[in-house]
Symmetry: C2
Subunit: 294 residues, 2 copies
Amino acid sequence: MKKLMCVPNVSEGTDRSKIDQFAASITEDPGIRLIDLSSDKDHNRSVFSYLGDPDAVLAATKRLADSVFSLIDMRAHKGSHPRQGALDVVPFIPVGSMTTDEALPIAREFGRFIGEKGIPVYYYEDAATAPERVSLVDVRKGEYEVLEEKLKDPSWYPDEGPAVFVPSVGSVQVAVRFPLVAFNVNLRTDSLELAADIAKAVRQRDGGYRYVRAIGLSLADSGMVQVSMNLTNYVKTPVHRVLETIRSEASARGVTVASTELVGPVPVGALEQVARHYLQAHGFSAGQIIETSA
Amino acid sequence: MKKLMCVPNVSEGTDRSKIDQFAASITEDPGIRLIDLSSDKDHNRSVFSYLGDPDAVLAATKRLADSVFSLIDMRAHKGSHPRQGALDVVPFIPVGSMTTDEALPIAREFGRFIGEKGIPVYYYEDAATAPERVSLVDVRKGEYEVLEEKLKDPSWYPDEGPAVFVPSVGSVQVAVRFPLVAFNVNLRTDSLELAADIAKAVRQRDGGYRYVRAIGLSLADSGMVQVSMNLTNYVKTPVHRVLETIRSEASARGVTVASTELVGPVPVGALEQVARHYLQAHGFSAGQIIETSA
Protein backbone atom coordinates (compact mmCIF):
# COMPACT_ATOMS: atom_id res chain seq x y z
CA MET A 1 0.00 0.00 0.00
CA LYS A 2 1.70 3.16 -1.23
CA LYS A 3 0.44 6.23 0.60
CA LEU A 4 1.74 9.73 0.96
CA MET A 5 1.37 12.00 3.96
CA CYS A 6 1.74 15.77 3.74
CA VAL A 7 2.13 18.12 6.71
CA PRO A 8 2.03 21.72 5.41
CA ASN A 9 2.60 24.53 7.91
CA VAL A 10 0.62 27.64 7.00
CA SER A 11 1.22 31.16 8.36
CA GLU A 12 -2.25 31.71 9.81
CA GLY A 13 -3.20 30.56 13.30
CA THR A 14 -5.91 32.96 14.44
CA ASP A 15 -8.53 33.55 11.71
CA ARG A 16 -10.83 30.52 12.05
CA SER A 17 -12.68 31.25 8.82
CA LYS A 18 -9.47 31.17 6.79
CA ILE A 19 -8.22 28.02 8.55
CA ASP A 20 -11.54 26.32 7.78
CA GLN A 21 -11.23 27.28 4.11
CA PHE A 22 -7.72 25.78 3.99
CA ALA A 23 -8.99 22.54 5.55
CA ALA A 24 -11.93 22.45 3.11
CA SER A 25 -9.57 22.80 0.13
CA ILE A 26 -7.72 19.70 1.35
CA THR A 27 -10.72 17.52 2.15
CA GLU A 28 -12.67 18.43 -1.00
CA ASP A 29 -11.49 14.98 -2.20
CA PRO A 30 -13.11 12.39 0.13
CA GLY A 31 -10.16 10.05 -0.52
CA ILE A 32 -7.97 12.34 1.62
CA ARG A 33 -7.91 11.61 5.36
CA LEU A 34 -7.19 14.74 7.43
CA ILE A 35 -5.48 13.17 10.46
CA ASP A 36 -4.74 16.31 12.42
CA LEU A 37 -5.18 20.08 12.32
CA SER A 38 -3.43 22.15 14.99
CA SER A 39 -3.56 25.96 15.10
CA ASP A 40 -1.49 28.02 17.51
CA LYS A 41 -2.31 31.67 18.14
CA ASP A 42 1.08 32.61 19.58
CA HIS A 43 2.83 30.99 16.63
CA ASN A 44 0.10 32.38 14.31
CA ARG A 45 0.49 29.15 12.39
CA SER A 46 -1.56 26.05 11.49
CA VAL A 47 -0.29 22.55 10.80
CA PHE A 48 -2.36 20.22 8.59
CA SER A 49 -1.61 16.46 8.51
CA TYR A 50 -3.30 14.41 5.81
CA LEU A 51 -2.89 11.10 4.08
CA GLY A 52 -4.01 9.49 0.84
CA ASP A 53 -2.97 8.10 -2.53
CA PRO A 54 0.09 10.01 -3.80
CA ASP A 55 -1.69 11.70 -6.74
CA ALA A 56 -4.63 12.70 -4.55
CA VAL A 57 -2.28 14.21 -1.95
CA LEU A 58 -0.45 16.18 -4.66
CA ALA A 59 -3.75 17.56 -5.98
CA ALA A 60 -4.98 18.44 -2.46
CA THR A 61 -1.73 20.28 -1.71
CA LYS A 62 -2.04 22.29 -4.95
CA ARG A 63 -5.59 23.30 -3.93
CA LEU A 64 -4.28 24.30 -0.48
CA ALA A 65 -1.53 26.42 -2.08
CA ASP A 66 -4.04 28.33 -4.21
CA SER A 67 -6.24 28.94 -1.18
CA VAL A 68 -3.29 30.10 0.97
CA PHE A 69 -1.95 32.50 -1.69
CA SER A 70 -5.39 34.09 -2.11
CA LEU A 71 -6.12 34.53 1.62
CA ILE A 72 -2.79 35.28 3.38
CA ASP A 73 -0.74 38.46 3.06
CA MET A 74 2.65 38.04 4.70
CA ARG A 75 3.11 41.82 5.00
CA ALA A 76 0.62 41.68 7.90
CA HIS A 77 1.90 38.48 9.52
CA LYS A 78 3.32 38.39 13.04
CA GLY A 79 4.02 35.25 15.06
CA SER A 80 6.57 33.70 17.40
CA HIS A 81 7.40 30.73 15.13
CA PRO A 82 10.09 31.09 12.43
CA ARG A 83 8.62 31.36 8.89
CA GLN A 84 9.68 32.47 5.42
CA GLY A 85 6.35 32.38 3.59
CA ALA A 86 2.58 32.08 3.65
CA LEU A 87 2.80 28.40 2.75
CA ASP A 88 5.88 28.06 4.90
CA VAL A 89 6.80 24.37 4.73
CA VAL A 90 5.40 21.50 2.71
CA PRO A 91 6.98 18.18 3.76
CA PHE A 92 5.91 15.04 1.88
CA ILE A 93 6.30 11.86 3.93
CA PRO A 94 6.23 8.37 2.38
CA VAL A 95 3.92 5.96 4.21
CA GLY A 96 3.16 2.23 3.88
CA SER A 97 5.32 0.63 1.18
CA MET A 98 6.09 3.97 -0.49
CA THR A 99 9.76 4.96 -0.56
CA THR A 100 11.58 8.29 -0.45
CA ASP A 101 12.59 7.79 -4.09
CA GLU A 102 8.94 7.43 -5.07
CA ALA A 103 7.94 10.53 -3.09
CA LEU A 104 10.62 12.75 -4.67
CA PRO A 105 8.92 13.19 -8.10
CA ILE A 106 5.73 14.27 -6.32
CA ALA A 107 7.62 16.91 -4.33
CA ARG A 108 9.35 18.10 -7.50
CA GLU A 109 6.06 18.36 -9.39
CA PHE A 110 4.60 20.37 -6.53
CA GLY A 111 7.67 22.65 -6.50
CA ARG A 112 7.39 23.28 -10.26
CA PHE A 113 3.67 24.06 -9.84
CA ILE A 114 4.58 26.81 -7.33
CA GLY A 115 7.56 28.03 -9.39
CA GLU A 116 5.38 28.45 -12.48
CA LYS A 117 3.27 30.94 -10.50
CA GLY A 118 6.42 33.10 -10.17
CA ILE A 119 6.95 32.18 -6.52
CA PRO A 120 10.40 31.04 -5.28
CA VAL A 121 10.74 27.50 -3.90
CA TYR A 122 13.50 25.96 -1.77
CA TYR A 123 13.82 22.17 -1.45
CA TYR A 124 15.15 20.87 1.90
CA GLU A 125 15.82 17.60 3.79
CA ASP A 126 15.70 14.57 1.43
CA ALA A 127 14.60 16.85 -1.45
CA ALA A 128 17.55 19.28 -1.01
CA THR A 129 19.63 20.15 -4.09
CA ALA A 130 22.79 21.03 -2.09
CA PRO A 131 24.22 20.10 1.34
CA GLU A 132 23.73 23.64 2.68
CA ARG A 133 20.03 23.42 1.88
CA VAL A 134 19.30 20.17 3.76
CA SER A 135 18.51 21.82 7.11
CA LEU A 136 15.33 23.87 7.30
CA VAL A 137 16.99 26.03 9.95
CA ASP A 138 19.63 27.06 7.38
CA VAL A 139 17.15 27.53 4.52
CA ARG A 140 14.87 29.72 6.65
CA LYS A 141 17.64 31.70 8.37
CA GLY A 142 16.66 35.39 8.75
CA GLU A 143 13.09 34.46 7.82
CA TYR A 144 10.58 36.36 5.69
CA GLU A 145 12.06 39.70 6.75
CA VAL A 146 15.41 39.10 4.96
CA LEU A 147 14.05 37.07 2.01
CA GLU A 148 14.17 40.00 -0.44
CA GLU A 149 17.93 40.40 0.21
CA LYS A 150 18.55 36.64 0.30
CA LEU A 151 17.07 36.20 -3.19
CA LYS A 152 19.72 38.59 -4.55
CA ASP A 153 22.50 36.29 -3.25
CA PRO A 154 23.48 33.81 -6.02
CA SER A 155 24.07 31.09 -3.41
CA TRP A 156 20.39 31.36 -2.45
CA TYR A 157 18.96 31.27 -5.98
CA PRO A 158 15.67 29.36 -5.60
CA ASP A 159 15.31 25.72 -6.71
CA GLU A 160 12.12 26.54 -8.60
CA GLY A 161 10.61 29.82 -9.74
CA PRO A 162 12.37 33.16 -10.28
CA ALA A 163 14.63 34.94 -7.77
CA VAL A 164 11.88 37.49 -7.30
CA PHE A 165 10.45 38.57 -3.94
CA VAL A 166 6.64 38.33 -3.84
CA PRO A 167 5.79 40.31 -0.68
CA SER A 168 2.37 38.77 -0.07
CA VAL A 169 3.67 35.19 -0.25
CA GLY A 170 7.42 34.98 0.46
CA SER A 171 8.93 31.59 -0.45
CA VAL A 172 7.69 28.00 -0.19
CA GLN A 173 9.91 25.35 1.42
CA VAL A 174 9.27 21.84 0.06
CA ALA A 175 10.70 18.62 1.50
CA VAL A 176 10.61 14.86 1.43
CA ARG A 177 11.41 13.46 4.84
CA PHE A 178 11.16 10.47 7.13
CA PRO A 179 8.09 10.53 9.40
CA LEU A 180 9.01 12.22 12.64
CA VAL A 181 7.62 11.64 16.11
CA ALA A 182 6.67 14.73 18.12
CA PHE A 183 7.24 13.64 21.72
CA ASN A 184 7.01 15.80 24.85
CA VAL A 185 8.00 14.80 28.37
CA ASN A 186 6.43 16.71 31.26
CA LEU A 187 8.52 16.98 34.42
CA ARG A 188 7.15 17.52 37.92
CA THR A 189 9.06 20.73 38.62
CA ASP A 190 8.73 24.40 37.69
CA SER A 191 12.46 24.78 36.94
CA LEU A 192 12.81 25.84 33.32
CA GLU A 193 16.56 25.60 33.77
CA LEU A 194 16.22 21.90 34.57
CA ALA A 195 14.10 21.30 31.44
CA ALA A 196 16.65 23.17 29.32
CA ASP A 197 19.51 21.15 30.85
CA ILE A 198 17.76 17.86 30.09
CA ALA A 199 16.89 19.00 26.56
CA LYS A 200 20.61 19.57 26.04
CA ALA A 201 21.42 16.12 27.43
CA VAL A 202 19.31 14.36 24.79
CA ARG A 203 19.64 16.56 21.71
CA GLN A 204 22.22 16.06 18.99
CA ARG A 205 23.39 19.65 18.98
CA ASP A 206 24.81 19.36 22.48
CA GLY A 207 26.10 15.80 22.41
CA GLY A 208 22.84 13.85 22.79
CA TYR A 209 21.11 11.45 20.46
CA ARG A 210 21.65 11.94 16.74
CA TYR A 211 18.00 12.22 15.69
CA VAL A 212 16.69 14.38 18.55
CA ARG A 213 15.81 18.06 18.40
CA ALA A 214 14.75 19.32 21.83
CA ILE A 215 13.97 22.47 23.79
CA GLY A 216 12.89 23.15 27.36
CA LEU A 217 9.54 24.94 27.83
CA SER A 218 7.44 26.20 30.77
CA LEU A 219 3.87 24.88 31.02
CA ALA A 220 2.20 27.88 32.63
CA ASP A 221 -1.14 26.17 33.35
CA SER A 222 0.20 23.16 35.21
CA GLY A 223 3.23 24.81 36.84
CA MET A 224 5.43 22.12 35.29
CA VAL A 225 8.12 22.17 32.61
CA GLN A 226 8.43 20.19 29.41
CA VAL A 227 11.18 18.74 27.25
CA SER A 228 9.60 19.26 23.82
CA MET A 229 11.13 17.10 21.09
CA ASN A 230 11.08 16.04 17.49
CA LEU A 231 12.52 12.57 16.92
CA THR A 232 13.51 12.76 13.27
CA ASN A 233 14.36 9.07 12.89
CA TYR A 234 12.53 6.93 15.43
CA VAL A 235 14.12 3.75 14.00
CA LYS A 236 17.65 4.82 14.87
CA THR A 237 16.78 6.91 17.92
CA PRO A 238 13.74 5.19 19.45
CA VAL A 239 11.18 6.83 21.75
CA HIS A 240 11.77 4.56 24.74
CA ARG A 241 15.53 5.20 24.81
CA VAL A 242 15.05 8.96 24.87
CA LEU A 243 12.36 8.71 27.53
CA GLU A 244 14.49 6.50 29.78
CA THR A 245 17.46 8.87 29.42
CA ILE A 246 15.25 11.79 30.42
CA ARG A 247 13.84 9.78 33.32
CA SER A 248 17.34 9.00 34.55
CA GLU A 249 18.58 12.59 34.19
CA ALA A 250 15.50 13.93 35.96
CA SER A 251 15.72 11.33 38.71
CA ALA A 252 19.33 12.29 39.43
CA ARG A 253 17.98 15.80 40.06
CA GLY A 254 15.16 14.51 42.30
CA VAL A 255 12.46 15.07 39.68
CA THR A 256 9.95 12.55 38.27
CA VAL A 257 8.29 12.26 34.86
CA ALA A 258 4.67 13.38 35.32
CA SER A 259 3.41 12.35 31.87
CA THR A 260 4.33 12.41 28.20
CA GLU A 261 2.60 13.44 24.99
CA LEU A 262 2.76 11.88 21.55
CA VAL A 263 1.56 14.74 19.32
CA GLY A 264 -0.11 14.17 15.95
CA PRO A 265 0.51 11.15 13.74
CA VAL A 266 2.64 8.33 15.21
CA PRO A 267 4.24 5.81 12.82
CA VAL A 268 3.19 2.28 13.69
CA GLY A 269 6.89 1.27 13.69
CA ALA A 270 7.48 3.56 16.68
CA LEU A 271 4.83 1.67 18.63
CA GLU A 272 6.27 -1.66 17.56
CA GLN A 273 9.50 -0.61 19.28
CA VAL A 274 7.68 0.49 22.44
CA ALA A 275 6.03 -2.94 22.72
CA ARG A 276 9.27 -4.78 22.00
CA HIS A 277 11.17 -2.83 24.61
CA TYR A 278 8.78 -2.52 27.53
CA LEU A 279 7.05 -5.87 27.07
CA GLN A 280 10.38 -7.51 26.12
CA ALA A 281 8.40 -8.95 23.18
CA HIS A 282 11.44 -9.13 20.90
CA GLY A 283 9.67 -10.97 18.08
CA PHE A 284 6.67 -8.65 17.88
CA SER A 285 6.00 -7.13 14.46
CA ALA A 286 3.67 -4.34 13.39
CA GLY A 287 2.25 -6.80 10.83
CA GLN A 288 0.43 -8.52 13.69
CA ILE A 289 -1.62 -5.44 14.54
CA ILE A 290 -5.32 -5.51 13.69
CA GLU A 291 -7.78 -2.67 14.03
CA THR A 292 -10.55 -3.30 16.51
CA SER A 293 -13.56 -1.46 17.83
CA ALA A 294 -12.46 -1.68 21.45
CA MET B 1 -14.73 0.16 8.55
CA LYS B 2 -16.62 -3.01 9.38
CA LYS B 3 -14.40 -6.07 9.17
CA LEU B 4 -14.69 -9.58 10.48
CA MET B 5 -11.89 -11.84 11.62
CA CYS B 6 -12.24 -15.60 11.82
CA VAL B 7 -9.84 -17.95 13.63
CA PRO B 8 -10.88 -21.55 12.89
CA ASN B 9 -8.99 -24.37 14.62
CA VAL B 10 -8.80 -27.45 12.42
CA SER B 11 -7.89 -30.98 13.62
CA GLU B 12 -4.92 -31.50 11.32
CA GLY B 13 -1.42 -30.32 12.22
CA THR B 14 0.91 -32.74 10.41
CA ASP B 15 -0.16 -33.32 6.79
CA ARG B 16 1.24 -30.27 4.96
CA SER B 17 -0.65 -31.01 1.76
CA LYS B 18 -4.01 -30.95 3.54
CA ILE B 19 -3.11 -27.82 5.51
CA ASP B 20 -2.14 -26.10 2.26
CA GLN B 21 -5.48 -27.07 0.70
CA PHE B 22 -7.31 -25.59 3.70
CA ALA B 23 -5.35 -22.33 3.36
CA ALA B 24 -6.03 -22.23 -0.38
CA SER B 25 -9.78 -22.60 0.19
CA ILE B 26 -9.64 -19.50 2.42
CA THR B 27 -7.47 -17.31 0.20
CA GLU B 28 -9.25 -18.22 -3.07
CA ASP B 29 -10.90 -14.78 -2.61
CA PRO B 30 -8.09 -12.19 -2.87
CA GLY B 31 -10.13 -9.88 -0.62
CA ILE B 32 -9.33 -12.16 2.33
CA ARG B 33 -6.12 -11.43 4.24
CA LEU B 34 -4.64 -14.54 5.89
CA ILE B 35 -2.87 -12.96 8.87
CA ASP B 36 -1.50 -16.08 10.45
CA LEU B 37 -1.35 -19.86 10.03
CA SER B 38 0.12 -21.94 12.88
CA SER B 39 0.29 -25.75 12.79
CA ASP B 40 1.38 -27.81 15.78
CA LYS B 41 2.33 -31.46 15.36
CA ASP B 42 1.91 -32.41 19.05
CA HIS B 43 -1.51 -30.79 19.10
CA ASN B 44 -2.17 -32.17 15.58
CA ARG B 45 -4.05 -28.96 14.97
CA SER B 46 -3.83 -25.84 12.76
CA VAL B 47 -5.06 -22.34 13.52
CA PHE B 48 -5.97 -20.01 10.64
CA SER B 49 -6.45 -16.27 11.27
CA TYR B 50 -7.98 -14.23 8.47
CA LEU B 51 -9.70 -10.92 7.98
CA GLY B 52 -11.98 -9.33 5.41
CA ASP B 53 -15.43 -7.95 4.66
CA PRO B 54 -18.02 -9.87 6.69
CA ASP B 55 -19.69 -11.56 3.69
CA ALA B 56 -16.34 -12.55 2.21
CA VAL B 57 -15.21 -14.05 5.53
CA LEU B 58 -18.46 -16.03 5.78
CA ALA B 59 -17.98 -17.41 2.26
CA ALA B 60 -14.30 -18.27 2.93
CA THR B 61 -15.25 -20.12 6.11
CA LYS B 62 -17.90 -22.14 4.24
CA ARG B 63 -15.26 -23.12 1.67
CA LEU B 64 -12.90 -24.11 4.49
CA ALA B 65 -15.63 -26.26 6.09
CA ASP B 66 -16.24 -28.16 2.85
CA SER B 67 -12.52 -28.74 2.43
CA VAL B 68 -12.10 -29.92 6.05
CA PHE B 69 -15.07 -32.33 5.90
CA SER B 70 -13.72 -33.89 2.70
CA LEU B 71 -10.12 -34.33 3.91
CA ILE B 72 -10.23 -35.08 7.67
CA ASP B 73 -11.49 -38.29 9.27
CA MET B 74 -11.74 -37.88 13.05
CA ARG B 75 -11.70 -41.66 13.58
CA ALA B 76 -7.96 -41.50 12.86
CA HIS B 77 -7.21 -38.28 14.78
CA LYS B 78 -4.83 -38.20 17.74
CA GLY B 79 -3.43 -35.05 19.36
CA SER B 80 -2.67 -33.51 22.74
CA HIS B 81 -5.08 -30.57 22.36
CA PRO B 82 -8.76 -30.93 23.36
CA ARG B 83 -11.11 -31.21 20.33
CA GLN B 84 -14.62 -32.35 19.52
CA GLY B 85 -14.59 -32.23 15.74
CA ALA B 86 -12.66 -31.91 12.49
CA LEU B 87 -13.57 -28.23 12.23
CA ASP B 88 -13.21 -27.90 15.96
CA VAL B 89 -13.83 -24.23 16.71
CA VAL B 90 -14.91 -21.33 14.49
CA PRO B 91 -14.79 -18.03 16.40
CA PHE B 92 -15.92 -14.91 14.55
CA ILE B 93 -14.35 -11.72 15.90
CA PRO B 94 -15.70 -8.24 15.09
CA VAL B 95 -12.98 -5.81 13.99
CA GLY B 96 -12.92 -2.08 13.19
CA SER B 97 -16.34 -0.50 13.72
CA MET B 98 -18.15 -3.86 13.55
CA THR B 99 -20.01 -4.86 16.72
CA THR B 100 -20.79 -8.20 18.35
CA ASP B 101 -24.46 -7.70 17.43
CA GLU B 102 -23.49 -7.33 13.79
CA ALA B 103 -21.27 -10.43 13.87
CA LEU B 104 -23.96 -12.67 15.41
CA PRO B 105 -26.10 -13.10 12.25
CA ILE B 106 -22.97 -14.16 10.34
CA ALA B 107 -22.17 -16.80 12.97
CA ARG B 108 -25.79 -18.02 12.89
CA GLU B 109 -25.79 -18.26 9.10
CA PHE B 110 -22.56 -20.25 9.24
CA GLY B 111 -24.04 -22.55 11.91
CA ARG B 112 -27.16 -23.19 9.81
CA PHE B 113 -24.96 -23.95 6.79
CA ILE B 114 -23.23 -26.69 8.82
CA GLY B 115 -26.48 -27.95 10.38
CA GLU B 116 -28.08 -28.35 6.96
CA LYS B 117 -25.32 -30.81 6.11
CA GLY B 118 -26.56 -33.01 8.98
CA ILE B 119 -23.65 -32.07 11.26
CA PRO B 120 -24.29 -30.96 14.87
CA VAL B 121 -23.26 -27.40 15.86
CA TYR B 122 -22.79 -25.86 19.31
CA TYR B 123 -22.68 -22.09 19.77
CA TYR B 124 -20.45 -20.77 22.58
CA GLU B 125 -19.16 -17.49 24.11
CA ASP B 126 -21.17 -14.48 22.84
CA ALA B 127 -23.10 -16.76 20.46
CA ALA B 128 -24.16 -19.20 23.24
CA THR B 129 -27.87 -20.09 23.53
CA ALA B 130 -27.67 -20.97 27.25
CA PRO B 131 -25.41 -20.05 30.20
CA GLU B 132 -23.99 -23.58 30.45
CA ARG B 133 -22.86 -23.35 26.82
CA VAL B 134 -20.88 -20.09 27.13
CA SER B 135 -17.56 -21.72 28.09
CA LEU B 136 -15.82 -23.75 25.39
CA VAL B 137 -14.32 -25.91 28.16
CA ASP B 138 -17.86 -26.97 29.18
CA VAL B 139 -19.11 -27.43 25.61
CA ARG B 140 -16.13 -29.61 24.66
CA LYS B 141 -15.99 -31.61 27.92
CA GLY B 142 -15.17 -35.29 27.24
CA GLU B 143 -14.21 -34.32 23.67
CA TYR B 144 -14.82 -36.23 20.44
CA GLU B 145 -14.59 -39.57 22.24
CA VAL B 146 -17.81 -38.99 24.26
CA LEU B 147 -19.71 -36.97 21.64
CA GLU B 148 -21.87 -39.94 20.51
CA GLU B 149 -23.18 -40.34 24.11
CA LYS B 150 -23.43 -36.58 24.72
CA LEU B 151 -25.74 -36.14 21.70
CA LYS B 152 -28.22 -38.57 23.33
CA ASP B 153 -28.47 -36.27 26.38
CA PRO B 154 -31.38 -33.80 25.88
CA SER B 155 -29.42 -31.07 27.68
CA TRP B 156 -26.77 -31.30 24.95
CA TYR B 157 -29.12 -31.22 21.97
CA PRO B 158 -27.17 -29.29 19.31
CA ASP B 159 -27.97 -25.67 18.46
CA GLU B 160 -28.03 -26.46 14.74
CA GLY B 161 -28.27 -29.76 12.86
CA PRO B 162 -29.61 -33.09 14.12
CA ALA B 163 -28.52 -34.88 17.34
CA VAL B 164 -26.74 -37.42 15.16
CA PHE B 165 -23.11 -38.48 15.58
CA VAL B 166 -21.15 -38.21 12.32
CA PRO B 167 -17.97 -40.19 13.11
CA SER B 168 -15.76 -38.61 10.44
CA VAL B 169 -16.58 -35.03 11.48
CA GLY B 170 -17.80 -34.85 15.11
CA SER B 171 -19.35 -31.48 15.97
CA VAL B 172 -18.53 -27.87 15.03
CA GLN B 173 -18.25 -25.24 17.78
CA VAL B 174 -19.12 -21.72 16.55
CA ALA B 175 -18.60 -18.50 18.52
CA VAL B 176 -18.64 -14.74 18.40
CA ARG B 177 -16.07 -13.33 20.78
CA PHE B 178 -13.98 -10.32 21.72
CA PRO B 179 -10.50 -10.36 20.16
CA LEU B 180 -8.11 -12.06 22.55
CA VAL B 181 -4.41 -11.48 23.04
CA ALA B 182 -2.20 -14.57 23.18
CA PHE B 183 0.65 -13.50 25.47
CA ASN B 184 3.48 -15.69 26.80
CA VAL B 185 6.05 -14.70 29.40
CA ASN B 186 9.34 -16.63 29.44
CA LEU B 187 11.06 -16.93 32.81
CA ARG B 188 14.77 -17.49 33.36
CA THR B 189 14.43 -20.71 35.34
CA ASP B 190 13.79 -24.37 34.57
CA SER B 191 11.28 -24.78 37.42
CA LEU B 192 7.95 -25.81 35.94
CA GLU B 193 6.50 -25.58 39.43
CA LEU B 194 7.37 -21.89 39.56
CA ALA B 195 5.70 -21.26 36.18
CA ALA B 196 2.58 -23.12 37.33
CA ASP B 197 2.52 -21.12 40.59
CA ILE B 198 2.73 -17.83 38.72
CA ALA B 199 0.08 -18.94 36.21
CA LYS B 200 -2.20 -19.53 39.20
CA ALA B 201 -1.38 -16.09 40.60
CA VAL B 202 -2.63 -14.30 37.48
CA ARG B 203 -5.49 -16.47 36.22
CA GLN B 204 -9.12 -15.96 37.15
CA ARG B 205 -9.72 -19.58 38.12
CA ASP B 206 -7.37 -19.30 41.09
CA GLY B 207 -8.07 -15.74 42.20
CA GLY B 208 -6.11 -13.80 39.59
CA TYR B 209 -7.28 -11.36 36.93
CA ARG B 210 -10.79 -11.84 35.58
CA TYR B 211 -9.89 -12.10 31.88
CA VAL B 212 -6.76 -14.26 32.11
CA ARG B 213 -6.47 -17.94 31.26
CA ALA B 214 -2.96 -19.22 32.03
CA ILE B 215 -0.89 -22.38 32.28
CA GLY B 216 2.76 -23.08 33.08
CA LEU B 217 4.81 -24.84 30.39
CA SER B 218 8.39 -26.11 29.99
CA LEU B 219 10.37 -24.77 27.03
CA ALA B 220 12.57 -27.77 26.32
CA ASP B 221 14.86 -26.04 23.79
CA SER B 222 15.83 -23.06 25.92
CA GLY B 223 15.74 -24.74 29.34
CA MET B 224 13.32 -22.05 30.50
CA VAL B 225 9.66 -22.12 31.52
CA GLN B 226 6.73 -20.10 30.24
CA VAL B 227 3.51 -18.66 31.59
CA SER B 228 1.30 -19.15 28.53
CA MET B 229 -1.82 -16.98 28.53
CA ASN B 230 -4.93 -15.90 26.71
CA LEU B 231 -6.14 -12.43 27.72
CA THR B 232 -9.81 -12.62 26.77
CA ASN B 233 -10.57 -8.93 27.36
CA TYR B 234 -7.44 -6.78 27.02
CA VAL B 235 -9.46 -3.60 27.72
CA LYS B 236 -10.45 -4.68 31.21
CA THR B 237 -7.36 -6.80 31.95
CA PRO B 238 -4.53 -5.07 30.06
CA VAL B 239 -1.28 -6.70 28.96
CA HIS B 240 1.05 -4.45 30.97
CA ARG B 241 -0.74 -5.12 34.26
CA VAL B 242 -0.47 -8.88 33.85
CA LEU B 243 3.20 -8.62 32.83
CA GLU B 244 4.09 -6.44 35.80
CA THR B 245 2.32 -8.82 38.19
CA ILE B 246 4.27 -11.74 36.75
CA ARG B 247 7.49 -9.73 36.97
CA SER B 248 6.81 -8.97 40.63
CA GLU B 249 5.89 -12.57 41.50
CA ALA B 250 8.95 -13.93 39.67
CA SER B 251 11.24 -11.34 41.24
CA ALA B 252 10.07 -12.31 44.75
CA ARG B 253 11.27 -15.83 43.85
CA GLY B 254 14.62 -14.53 42.51
CA VAL B 255 13.68 -15.06 38.86
CA THR B 256 13.68 -12.54 36.01
CA VAL B 257 11.54 -12.19 32.88
CA ALA B 258 13.73 -13.30 29.95
CA SER B 259 11.35 -12.24 27.17
CA THR B 260 7.70 -12.30 26.15
CA GLU B 261 5.78 -13.31 23.05
CA LEU B 262 2.71 -11.72 21.50
CA VAL B 263 1.37 -14.55 19.33
CA GLY B 264 -0.75 -13.95 16.23
CA PRO B 265 -2.98 -10.92 15.71
CA VAL B 266 -2.75 -8.12 18.29
CA PRO B 267 -5.60 -5.60 18.53
CA VAL B 268 -4.33 -2.06 18.07
CA GLY B 269 -6.16 -1.08 21.29
CA ALA B 270 -3.86 -3.39 23.25
CA LEU B 271 -0.84 -1.48 21.93
CA GLU B 272 -2.47 1.84 22.68
CA GLN B 273 -2.57 0.76 26.32
CA VAL B 274 1.06 -0.35 26.29
CA ALA B 275 2.13 3.08 25.01
CA ARG B 276 -0.08 4.93 27.49
CA HIS B 277 1.24 2.94 30.42
CA TYR B 278 4.95 2.61 29.77
CA LEU B 279 5.42 5.99 28.07
CA GLN B 280 2.94 7.62 30.51
CA ALA B 281 1.37 9.07 27.34
CA HIS B 282 -2.09 9.28 28.87
CA GLY B 283 -3.67 11.14 25.95
CA PHE B 284 -2.37 8.84 23.23
CA SER B 285 -5.02 7.34 20.94
CA ALA B 286 -4.81 4.55 18.37
CA GLY B 287 -6.34 7.02 15.90
CA GLN B 288 -2.92 8.74 15.73
CA ILE B 289 -1.20 5.66 14.35
CA ILE B 290 -0.09 5.74 10.72
CA GLU B 291 1.41 2.90 8.74
CA THR B 292 4.94 3.52 7.55
CA SER B 293 7.56 1.69 5.59
CA ALA B 294 10.15 1.87 8.34
